[in-house]
């Protein structure tokens, strides 16, 4: 690619050290995470619960401090920004939360919630802020009279729309959407996904879209990153990943999707065992304890992420498992 990536994450690691009160081992939530997102692209991040998706999403916006690594955002390494610069930077990047109940303050009206960012950033006069908030409400297809109400008066789907509207009021370029529909009724999920897709296209947003639902990811994402136990297993353009998954873990994930095709159902491959603890990850390939193709060599060294085709990377030493 000729143009430099919009977001370039390099060797990101996050270890949660035990606090003074909770003694215990260091949790290695992320290890050696590197990926790029080009401007206007939607990159999906999939993995089981506890694989580190939220930790990546929050580190990328520096809502938690990474242990090491760089996060280059349009040319600036945001891990090196001072407090004041970081605050200015925050205007350009926003987060959409998984839980629409926890993410809205019960003590604020929707108007206060939507104008909070403008208020913090000192953008506009009061009337202008209101106008921007109402524009955002319209963009997420909520009635304008929501402005003076409290969050508890709205359903989960409506609250998630408010959460999306809040992320939009600062007119960001980049959004991290952390499982934005997984807490919602299935009947509403499609609406919210479509809304996000529309907004992303219309506003030209760049997005990191976190999900554990591969079907959703396939629909909305250009590229997909598969995460397991804090490490990247495979990266590929969405269509390619679904057509030609290379990594044993990706295959297992894909075969776990309920299918109507009886042939596909036949070679369904169920993962044995549980995901190991990130406090004590397996040596070598972190997936080896559950991998049906594991060899002696998988124990020794961490398999590097290497290209198998244009834009398709995998972290597995075996090429013979087509």
């Amino acid at each position: 690619m000729a143009d430099a990536p919009f977001l370039a994450v390099k060797n990101l690691a996050k270890h949660f050290a035990p606090t003074a009160f909770s003694r215990g081992p260091v949790v290695r939530a992320l290890e050696d995470i590197s990926f790029d997102i080009r401007r206007g692209q939607v990159v999906g991040l999939v993995g089981e619960s506890g694989s580190g998706k939220t930790t990546i999403g929050r580190s990328v916006l520096r809502l938690i401090e990474p242990t090491s690594g760089q996060i280059n955002y349009d040319g600036t390494d945001i891990t090196r920004l001072g407090a004041a610069q970081l605050r200015r930077q925050r205007r350009k990047m926003q987060y959409i939360f998984q839980d629409p109940f926890a993410s809205l303050s019960p003590r604020m009206t929707i108007g206060q919630i939507l104008t909070e960012g403008l208020d913090i950033q000192g953008i506009g006069k009061k009337s202008e802020r209101r106008a921007k908030a109402e524009t955002a409400l319209a963009a997420v297809e909520l009635p304008v009279d929501a402005y003076d109400r409290y969050a508890h008066e709205f359903s989960g789907g409506q609250r998630q729309r408010i959460g999306i509207a809040r992320a939009l009021t600062l007119e960001p370029e980049f959004i991290v959407a952390d499982e934005p529909v997984s807490a919602l009724d299935v009947s509403i999920q499609a609406q919210i996904i479509n809304l996000l897709r529309d907004l992303q296209l219309r506003l030209g947003l760049t997005m990191l879209f976190i999900s554990h639902d591969l079907a959703v990811v396939e629909y909305i994402c250009d590229t997909v990153i598969v995460l397991y136990l804090g490490r990247i297993m495979e990266v590929a353009p969405a269509a390619e990943l679904y057509a030609r998954p290379q990594h044993p873990y990706t295959r297992a994930l894909l075969s776990a999707i309920p299918s109507l095709d009886p042939l596909a159902r036949q070679d369904r491959q169920v993962l044995k065992g549980d995901i190991p603890s990130p406090a004590n990850p397996p040596s070598g390939c972190v997936f080896r304890t559950r991998c049906p193709f594991a060899l002696e060599a998988c124990v020794g060294a961490v398999p590097p992420l290497r290209a198998t085709a244009e834009g398709h990377l995998k972290a597995c030493i075996r090429d013979d498992i087509a």
Binding site: L63, R91, Q94, L104, R107, E141, Q158, I188, Q191
Partner: protein, 300 residues
């Protein structure tokens, strides 16, 4: 999951306009019978205490030489004391002082308690550790001894008494505030505010304070009752409000003399009763506020 035809219709907003959480808490408060009774006692006391010079003929230090140690009568409704001062006037003035001392010291200790708790919880691990060890230290000091030492350093009078009482009671509050804010800090809506660039003042005053309002109100109310008792105790021991200024505490001090205790009960019974009644009523109000703010009561 199948993503079918885009159907971005809004789920209908059928829920009617309702009140904010603070309004709902207040509604619950007014449904509480004991709390309403508390208000019915406290409000007239406040009114009487603040307006008495307008309607009561005697001042707290007016001396009526013809009435020394006189029992309640038509002129001196609550009797008079050993130097001929009107007990009713001293009771009302004493209420003024006692309530002034209590309210001011609680206001000060609430501000200190909130700020210390807030700084500890939002200031990072090192600040938190240091501040909370100091709070622990302040809490392990035996309160009675601490109070007496402080009082003997500060001296008597209104301002020193306010200082002494306010320095005694903030550590408990700062612990409660810290616990609440530590939990709040991890809530998504606070993370969202940080993600929009919020600094410490915004986080503390736009999120911290509104989400501690229940703790603060309940603490302040119950602490006012406590401070009235502390003032009375100090003044009773001669360490608080010194005569000739009146306070409920130093009026009770008279009862230390057996002559007064046995022969002139009106001189100590009325301030005693006023004290007990006020403290009780304020405690009713405080309990009512605590129940009204209980998060569980929002569920039903």
């Amino acid at each position: 999951m199948a993503i079918t035809a885009p159907d971005p219709t809004v789920d209908p907003t059928a829920v009617p306009q309702t009140k904010g959480p603070l309004r709902r808490a207040l509604d619950r408060f007014f449904e509480n019978r004991a709390a309403r009774a508390g208000l019915l006692i406290v409000i007239p006391i406040l009114l009487a205490v603040s307006t008495y010079p307008l309607w009561w003929p005697f001042g707290p230090n007016t001396i009526d030489l013809r009435a020394m140690n006189k029992a309640p009568s038509a002129i001196h409704w609550l009797g008079s004391d050993g130097v001929g001062r009107d007990v009713m006037a001293r009771l009302l003035q004493g209420g003024r002082i006692s309530l002034l001392v209590a309210v001011s010291s609680v206001a000060i200790s609430t501000v200190i308690g909130f700020l210390v708790g807030a700084v500890a919880s939002f200031g990072g691990r090192l600040v938190d550790g240091t501040v909370m060890r100091l709070v622990d230290l302040a809490m392990t000091l035996p309160p009675v001894i601490f109070l007496l030492v402080l009082a003997s350093i500060a001296g008597t009078g209104i301002a020193p008494t306010i200082l002494v009482i306010s320095l005694l009671s903030w550590p408990v509050l700062s612990r409660m505030v810290r616990a609440r804010l530590l939990e709040l800090r991890e809530r998504d809506f606070v993370v969202a505010a940080r993600g929009m660039g919020a600094g410490l003042p915004h986080l503390l005053f736009r999120h911290g304070l509104p989400n501690c309002i229940d703790i603060l109100v309940v603490y302040a109310t119950l602490q006012i009752a406590n401070a009235i008792l502390l003032e009375a105790g100090l003044s009773f021991l001669g360490l608080g409000i010194a005569p000739p200024e009146a306070s409920w505490g130093n009026m009770l001090n008279l009862a230390r003399s057996t002559v007064v205790l046995e022969n002139y009960p009106w001189q100590w019974m009325f301030p005693g009763a006023a004290l007990v009644l006020t403290v009780l009523a304020i405690n009713f109000i405080g309990d009512g506020l605590r129940d009204a703010f209980d998060p569980r009561s929002d569920l039903n």
